[in-house]
């Protein structure tokens, strides 16, 4: 498969999850595992452009695919992309653990729906749990990243 544009190969047990392959075999530890039932979304990556919970996919299923992870989101010189920058600007993260999955999930939304409504953002992120932010600033960051004016949303 290719991961963040780089060709990688590996031989794993059939039961190895994509999240395990990314973390333990490729040392791409930005993809996090927060549950074991496919509920929390901390492990969301892109597989052939689609947001996927990587704990719910076998590594072997992604063979030959193009996989994108949080490590591949910023520019080569480290500059944050617009969505990442919006998360920082609007304090859309605290402990940071859910953040990679949140960013990857939101990126997939904005790809399909460049100017989502608040309700659409909330509905789309329903599969990504955050325990720190109460979602306020995450939703605000995603709306801001889509170019919408968020100045009217409750201060700070």
């Amino acid at each position: 498969m290719s991961v963040n544009g780089r060709q990688v190969r590996g031989e794993v047990e059939g039961r190895t999850l994509l999240s395990t392959f990314l973390r333990d075999h490729l040392s791409l530890t930005g993809t996090h595992v927060g549950c074991d039932t496919g509920q929390c979304g901390a492990c969301v990556v892109h597989v052939d452009g689609v947001a996927v919970k990587s704990c719910n996919m076998l590594a072997a299923e992604a063979s030959g695919s193009s996989v994108g992870t949080i490590e591949g989101q910023a520019a080569a010189d480290g500059t944050l992309n617009a969505l990442q920058q919006a998360f920082q600007d609007h304090h859309g993260l605290q402990c940071g653990f859910c953040t990679p999955g949140m960013v990857m999930s939101a990126a997939a939304l904005l790809k399909d729906n460049p100017r989502p409504s608040e309700a659409e953002v909330r509905a789309h992120l329903e599969g990504n749990l955050c325990r720190c932010t109460g979602y306020h600033n995450i939703v605000k960051a995603v709306l801001a990243a889509s170019g919408q004016d968020v100045s009217g949303i409750a201060a700070e």
């Binding site: 996090h32 509920q39 920082q88 993260l93 940071g96 992120l125």
Partner: protein, 788 residues
């Protein structure tokens, strides 16, 4: 005009860049060469006697290094409890042992029976399935009332009953409180449940033990809010490792909310096993394991009575609470329903007489300990619910009833020991009425009703005791630790600064906010200052982060250390400028001599300290590094007023939070953006408790019914609205140098009663005489209340 740096600026968080690019360093991201993996075989019954454990087949499985059972830990200390409560009769609480691995009995679903260490995590898990365990099942003790019955099975055979303690506070007031009820014009009574919760930080716990045989040093990497506390507890009480041979590292930690304060068996196991097999040993919790091994929160059953005189003044409060301890005493469990709960029962009100009775109970459930707010949400919920009920019974406005009874003069000595140093509860209520647009509620209700929905408004106040805690006071109350904190300010030769702090940041943004304070004091750029935390080998002995204490306690230590730095730097500057030390002023990173144009830059002074060629070596030491320990003289008392508006669908009972507003008094604020974020997060958890979350056990078998996110309803993005938060009403704390109070727990403390008050208001508006619904206020409970 908002500031763009220093105290009061919403500086963007510097820690975000690593978290947004996948470059964080969480404990599970750490792998040590040659590490083995442990899988814990956990009890699948709530209560039973271990008849036999057969590890022979499992030991022969591929990759298995060694299998440990309770027998391997005989002679090793158990997990200690850090707080001893004294009961109504002057007797110490019952304090059963808590072995690292079960010995003789299992006492809750998830109690670890055996631990398989293998070359890979998969091999360890496979082998654990091959262990043969025979358990003679015993009756499960689940319900607290039943647990206290004379014929109940006993969780601990060596204790006379399942009662941990029967606590009365203030015991000397009991007769006067009873008398006040006898003469009251009106008494409102409410029985309620404060539902059991699971903290659920998104990062599950992880522990890695490492042992260096050549030096005898052990290192534990762990998901902790307080590495020094873990080093003290595990080193001194469990494994007998002196501090200089034990290092505890808590790197990036993915949220804690209290659940990562405590010393857990898995930490002790990995440290112990690494030495035993002379290999690093790693454990990563699954979420299911987290549900059955992380300490739970809340789980109180309470009866509260409020007495009022004929003018609706509160005259007395009397409460009886059963508090679940679970199967063992977690690290700070006994303090939560007592000193963190009873002392807050006065709330924001001048009730002269209060008596709180708490019976703490052992059950065959996971241990219960501090979770965001810890005792204070339980106090706030019952008090603010009973006040709302009283207002309804008396036919008075609930806001007016609260205002009438507010404490308005400070300092205020409550009848429950604590002294509020400052506050202005009318100001936060005024602000709340403004930001919540309470005047516009009637129109919004009409709009909801026009579409067939009921709409309710719920308001409440809260107060909390934060900045934990004055060591001499808590020592008298049973704490077995000091609760100061510490900071070392190391100024480097070129003027940059490293600040080593005892507080631990796991989402709170200390790496951004703490430098704002030092930068303000020195007049230099924030970017010159870095915060170092989370490694006992690098930081001074501070007690970590919980109880909204980091800035109030550790921040105060940092201020004191920085003051020492300034004093010494002024001496050096005076020497360099050949002036009197008393005439030296520091402003904007420049030392000047008052009344002259002489000046010397910050960097020149710091360089002189480390290259002391022209330096008063006979008077002062070279170098520029200072440490301070700070022990607070009182708690801090953040307070505020919250409002929730809900819509209730009468067809289904579904409750939707339409608006939520919070007006808080946190004293002075260092980073408003971070403070708002802390409140948002607390509100999310409080709304979660009120509407969604419930940790449920089968009452007969003690099986944990909510052991995954399939069954435990976490709040999601579409369960909550945008919040309106305000913290402009600031009465600075009078006794710490920054005037700060702490903001981490307020949202979770203040929000559940507002939500429930709003639901009751909505149902009443629909003509339903519903007095109370227990949390979580689920559609089925609402529907049943409306149609029952």
């Amino acid at each position: 005009m908002p500031k763009d740096s220093g105290i009061g600026a919403s500086s963007k968080r510097r820690e975000d860049v690593r978290f947004l690019t996948g470059a964080g360093n969480y404990t599970d991201d750490i792998n040590i060469h040659g590490q083995a993996y442990v899988h814990f075989l956990r009890s699948d019954v709530a209560h039973g006697r271990i008849v036999s454990i057969d590890t022979a087949a499992a030991s022969a499985m591929p990759g298995v290094v060694r299998i440990f059972t309770g027998a391997d830990f005989e002679g090793v200390g158990g997990l200690p409890c850090g707080w001893q409560v004294t009961d109504r009769h002057g007797q110490p609480m019952a304090e059963p042992g808590h072995p690292v691995l079960a010995q003789g009995k299992v006492r809750h679903v998830g109690d670890p029976i055996a631990a398989v260490v293998a070359d890979t995590a998969e091999q360890a898990r496979d082998a654990a399935e091959a262990i043969g365990v025979e358990i003679e099942e015993l009756p499960a003790v689940v319900d607290m009332k039943a647990a206290l019955a004379g014929d109940a099975a006993r969780v601990h055979d060596d204790l006379p009953s399942n009662l941990c303690y029967d606590w009365g506070f203030v015991e000397e007031n009991k007769a006067a409180v009873d008398a006040a009820f006898d003469t009251a014009a009106h008494v409102t009574t409410l029985e309620l449940v404060n539902n059991r919760l699971v903290a659920n930080p998104m990062e599950p716990r992880v522990a890695i033990g490492d042992y260096a045989r050549a030096t005898g040093e052990s290192t534990l990497y762990t998901t902790s809010q307080n590495p020094h506390v873990i080093r003290l507890l595990m080193g001194a009480f469990v494994l007998g490792i002196p501090e200089h041979k034990l290092r505890v590292v808590a790197p990036d930690v993915g949220g804690g909310f209290g659940s990562k304060i405590f010393h857990y068996a898995e930490e002790a196991f990995c440290t112990f096993a690494a030495k035993a097999i002379n290999r690093p040993v790693k454990w990563t919790s699954s979420r299911s394991e987290a549900f059955m091994s992380d300490a739970h929160g809340r789980d109180h059953v309470t009866r509260i009575e409020l007495a009022l005189d004929a003018d609706n003044n509160f005259t007395a409060i009397r409460t009886e609470t059963l508090a679940n301890m679970g199967a063992y005493l977690s690290t700070f469990a006994p303090s939560v329903p007592t000193w963190l709960h009873g002392t807050l029962m006065a709330g924001n009100y001048k009730t002269p007489l209060i008596y709180v009775n708490v019976k703490a109970v052992f059950t065959n459930t996971v241990p219960v300990d501090a979770y965001r707010g810890a005792g204070r949400p339980e106090a706030t919920f019952q008090l603010e619910r009973v006040i709302d009920k009283a207002a309804r019974e008396l036919g008075v406005d609930p806001i007016a009833l609260r205002r009438q009874n507010f404490v308005t003069e400070f300092p205020y000595q409550t009848p429950v020991a604590v002294v509020y140093d400052t506050g202005d509860y009318n100001a936060t209520m005024d602000k709340l009425e403004e930001i919540a647009d309470i005047a516009g509620f009637a129109a919004r209700r009409a709009a909801s009703e026009a579409k067939g929905k009921l709409r309710g408004l719920g308001v409440n106040c809260y107060i909390e005791a934060c900045g934990i805690a004055p060591s001499n006071l808590v020592g008298q109350l049973g704490a077995r630790a000091g609760l100061y904190d510490a900071a070392t300010v190391r100024v480097n030769a070129t003027g940059s600064i490293s600040v080593m702090v005892g507080a631990h940041s796991h989402g709170q943004g200390h790496e951004t906010a703490f430098p704002q304070v030092v930068a303000e004091m020195l007049g230099i750029d924030e970017s010159m200052i870095e915060i170092v935390h989370g490694d006992s080998s690098k930081i001074p002995f501070g007690m970590g982060t919980y109880g909204s204490r980091s800035l109030a306690v550790c921040g105060s230590a940092m201020v004191r250390a920085t003051e020492k730095i300034i004093n010494k730097a002024k001496k050096i500057a005076a020497h360099l400028m050949e002036a009197s030390e008393a005439d030296i002023e520091l402003k904007g990173g420049q030392f000047t001599v008052a009344g002259t144009d002489k000046s010397v830059a910050w960097g020149d002074v710091t360089l002189a300290a480390y290259v002391p060629h022209n330096y008063p070596l006979e008077d002062i030491e070279p170098g520029l590094e200072e440490t301070a320990f700070y022990d607070p003289s009182n708690f801090t008392y953040p307070a505020g007023a919250y409002a929730c508006e809900v819509e209730v669908d009468p067809e289904t009972g579904k409750v939707t939070v339409e608006r939520f507003s919070a007006a808080d008094d946190f004293g002075n604020i260092v980073n408003p953006m971070i403070v708002s974020g802390q409140v948002h997060g607390g509100l999310g958890q409080g709304i979660g408790q009120a509407l969604l979350e419930n940790c449920a056990y089968d009452p007969e078998t003690g099986q944990l019914l909510s052991a995954s996110y399939m069954d435990y309803a976490m709040p999601r993005a579409d369960d909550v609205p945008f919040y309106a938060v305000d913290h402009s009403c600031a009465t600075p704390c009078t006794h710490n140098p920054l005037g700060v109070k702490g903001c981490g727990e307020a949202g979770a403390i203040g929000s559940p009663p507002a939500v429930v008050n709003a639901v009751i208001d909505a149902l009443q508006s629909g003509g339903k005489t519903v007095a109370h619904i227990d949390m979580p206020v689920s559609p089925s409970r609402v529907w049943a209340a409306m149609n029952g």
